[in-house]
């Protein structure tokens, strides 16, 4: 299998001088296409920091980051934005839908930046909403949706562009167990049926069960990297 992502001795230092804090202290990591990886670890261990770098939202202080053999650490702000636009999908803990905007409009947003036509946008957004089980909810604004539904809209928005890699930082952090399981089933099925590579941060071992591989971070380093037996 070819590597989608490769971290080579990545470090990340926040602040300078006395206040400097090293959040990542030399991380080596390889993620193959089609994988479903759960990232775990204590608070402050650098999980989100690593996710932000993988998501091209941030750059490492040192080290090499290859996305499909492209050196991301050498790209400028715009090039990274284009990389996000064309290959990545994000799901955040806090849902992060646009306020006073309908589910449909939220899901259409990435397509708007891709310059898709109105009809294409509507069709693709409707299809994405169907995949997350929200057919018919398109015209509801975020305020009219439950937490679980909002997170589904966020997932629909992340997958509407058929991304290569889906990044989810504590996607179930704000949900009850039942809702969380539904979201995890959804992510697992997207990985299984559509071949989307998924990288997910979670604190809950139950949720990590859904992944194929679990990476543990401790103090800015990869502490353990365990592959589950293939579950189907």
């Amino acid at each position: 299998m070819s590597a989608l992502i490769e971290f080579r001795n990545i470090t990340k230092t926040y602040g300078q001088g006395q206040a400097a804090f090293q959040a990542l202290r030399g991380v080596d990591l390889r993620i193959d296409e089609g994988d479903f990886v759960a990232v775990m670890g204590p608070s402050g261990s650098g999980k989100s920091t690593a996710m932000n770098i993988i998501g091209c939202l941030d750059v490492p202080t040192s080290g090499e980051y290859l996305f499909r053999d492209v050196h991301v650490e050498q790209l400028d702000r715009n090039q990274r934005a284009l990389l996000r636009r064309n290959f990545l999908g994000f799901v955040f803990q806090g849902f992060n839908l646009l306020a006073r905007t309908t589910a449909q409009e939220n899901v259409e947003l990435p397509l708007l930046y891709r310059g898709e036509s109105t009809t294409t946008r509507e069709q693709m957004a409707a299809a994405a909403l169907e995949q997350v089980g929200l057919t018919g909810w398109g015209h509801h604004t975020s305020a009219e949706l439950s937490g679980g539904q909002q997170q589904r809209v966020a997932i629909a928005r992340a997958i509407v562009t058929n991304p290569t890699l889906l990044l989810a930082d504590e996607p179930t952090g704000n949900l009850d167990t039942q809702r969380s399981r539904e979201i995890m089933e959804l992510l697992a099925s997207l990985n299984r049926d559509k071949g989307i590579t998924i990288l997910m941060v979670t604190h809950e071992p139950d949720m990590a069960e859904y992944a194929k591989r679990v990476v543990h971070f401790v103090d800015g380093r990869v502490d353990s990297d365990v592959r589950h037996r293939e579950t189907g």
Partner: protein, 403 residues
């Protein structure tokens, strides 16, 4: 992409309708103020021109001093005319229809019931000829009345109405300041009251009467000359200048200390003032446009802070810096242009209404409307740029974390 940004901007504006409206209020007021001022100012200028043009194009006006609105003092130093000048003009220059000396003083005129403060003009029968006045009733001054400076007067329609109401006062007396005066004629109304100058508000007396009873000297302040043939106007103008230079003993090379103006020049001199006023008011009004722009910048800055999270989401999804910049810039420009459009509509309503009240002609001035609109769009760009730049520069991670 531009079209998309435009749609996004419209959607955003619709989402915050009340705030959007308040934001553009400054622009609305600025644009409508500028357009209304300029439109009414131009209307006033036009009104003055029309009024002067109604005098006919065969009229010349001679005044002492260099220009009607010359530098202070230049008019005062120049000697006034006298009746001998008028006689000389009549005698030495051919092709004239009328030569009317003129002097006026303000005075209160009183009938049995009412009084009215107005300007009393002293002249001859030529005044009626030169000014195209018709008599509605009564007669002109007789030679005896003119030569003897008797207390007789011809009044305009406004004076008749104010002093006598519905009555026809021919043959009655009215008191002018401290003497009594017989009304021998009433003028046909010209019916044009523009810019506070009512032409029908006129009291005409023999010039000797005014000189003796009101002004107390033998000066003539201006002379109106009406030419029989319009084509003669330049010749007459030259001859008048020659003659008056002679009579006033001006050396060769010395400047004229009087001026001879035709109606076009009179119109220009008069409308010069209204034009300056128009420009001034327009300039003051455009300051409010600028203030409107600052209002837009203010609200856009608030909006960027408020929507930090939204900007974070857009950036995370893959919006380019310039796309975010464009979104906010277009939002500001669309707001400003909407303000401009509303301003234009308001200005049109206000101008039409006020033109009616002020009795000046209304004409749609395309130039100033286009200019004000383009200017408001420019203000949108100018004041929208800084907030938009701030939005585009946000760090996506920070922005996403923003509450």
């Amino acid at each position: 992409m531009l079209w998309n940004s435009f749609l996004l901007a419209l959607r955003e504006i619709r989402r915050n309708l009340l705030r959007s409206f308040l934001t553009t209020l400054g622009i609305v007021i600025g644009v409508s103020a500028v357009i209304t001022m300029v439109t009414l100012g131009n209307g006033a200028t036009q009104a003055v021109k029309n009024q002067v043009a109604s005098l006919g194009s065969n009229l010349l006006q001679i005044r002492s001093g260099q220009r009607m609105f010359g530098p202070p003092g230049s008019g005062a130093r120049a000697p006034a005319f006298e009746l001998a000048d008028v006689a000389a003009i009549q005698e030495r220059i051919s092709g004239l229809a009328a030569v009317a000396p003129e002097i006026s003083r303000t005075a209160t005129v009183v009938s049995s019931a009412n009084n009215w403060s107005t300007s009393v003009t002293g002249s001859s029968n030529d005044f009626l000829l030169a000014g195209n006045w018709q008599l509605a009733a009564g007669r002109e001054f007789s030679k005896a009345e003119l030569d003897g400076g008797q207390s007789v007067c011809i009044i305009g329609e406004t004076i008749r109405r104010e002093l006598f109401g519905t009555r026809q006062p021919l043959g009655e007396s009215m008191r002018v300041k401290n003497f009594s005066c017989e009304i021998i004629g009433i003028l046909v109304s010209k019916g044009q009251a523009t810019m506070g100058r009512d032409q029908d508000e006129i009291v005409l007396m023999p010039i000797h009467t005014v000189q003796r009873r009101l002004s107390g000297n033998r000066d003539v302040s201006s002379i109106q000359v009406s030419v029989q043939n319009e084509g003669d106007i330049d010749r007459v103008k030259n001859e008048l200048t020659q003659l008056l230079r002679e009579r006033r003993r001006l050396e060769k090379g010395e400047d004229d200390n009087f001026n001879v103006q035709d109606t076009r020049q009179i119109a220009e001199t008069l409308s010069g003032t209204t034009q300056i006023l128009t420009t001034l008011l327009g300039a003051v009004a455009s300051v409010s446009l600028l203030v409107g722009g600052i209002g837009i910048m203010n609200i856009m800055l608030v909006s960027v802070t408020e929507r930090t999270r939204e900007i974070g989401i857009r950036l995370a999804i893959g919006a380019l810096e310039r796309e975010v910049l464009l979104q906010f810039l277009i939002e500001a420009v669309v707001l400003a242009m909407l303000g401009g459009l509303i301003g234009i509509v308001l200005a049109t309503l206000a101008s039409v209404g006020l033109a009616g009240v002020m009795q000046v002609p209304y004409s749609f001035n395309l130039g100033i409307n286009v200019l004000a609109f383009v200017f408001s769009a420019g203000i949108g760009i100018l004041f929208g740029f800084m907030p938009a730049k701030r939005a585009a520069r946000l760090d996506p991670i920070e922005a996403l974390r923003h509450e």
